[in-house]
């Protein structure tokens, strides 16, 4: 499924126009993004939580040249599904 299919399906089921569904979805994704950019956790009950996790710096090797490079520490977003979602998926 991609975004367009999601928008179409949501529009159909809610009776809203596609443009409304698109605008709301875009805004929702934007909100999640902005919250993470600010370094905050965003929790959506019954769905899951998006968090930022710090990844320590590590050594890696360039597979082509074989030289060792230092990968600096950075933040990666992680998604923790809610219990409900986890149970639903694992069936």
């Amino acid at each position: 499924m991609n975004k367009l299919e999601l928008i179409e399906s949501v529009a159909k089921k809610t009776g809203q126009s596609k443009s409304v569904a698109r605008e709301v979805l875009d805004s929702l994704l934007d909100t999640v993004e902005q919250t993470l950019v600010c370094g905050h956790t965003i929790e959506i009950r019954g769905f899951g939580a998006f968090k930022l996790k710090r990844r320590e710096s590590q050594r890696a090797r360039n597979p082509r040249t074989g030289e060792t490079v230092e990968v600096p520490s950075r933040f990666v977003p992680v998604f923790k599904p809610s219990k409900k979602l986890a149970e639903k998926v694992d069936k």
Binding site: M1, K3, V10, V20
Partner: protein
Amino acid sequence: MTKADIVELIAEKTGFTVKDVKIVVEQCLTEIKDCLAEGNHLEIRGFGTFKVKNHKARKARNPKTNEEVMVPARKKAVFKVSKELNNILY
């Protein structure tokens, strides 16, 4: 930040009523959940991909009792962030 906060924020930004936004947001989330429950993945360009990953059974230890327990094989919902979003967060 909770769902009610998000809905209010979206309503403010888009100018739609809270009621409409709430219905659409709920449906979006339900739709994503159902899609994952069916084992399909969902890709949102510029944001990321939700997919289902198979985890093998493994041994684990209860840290309190030191007892070994078997964790059965299971499916887990995972989110992989898009390059674009990752670069913003970097």
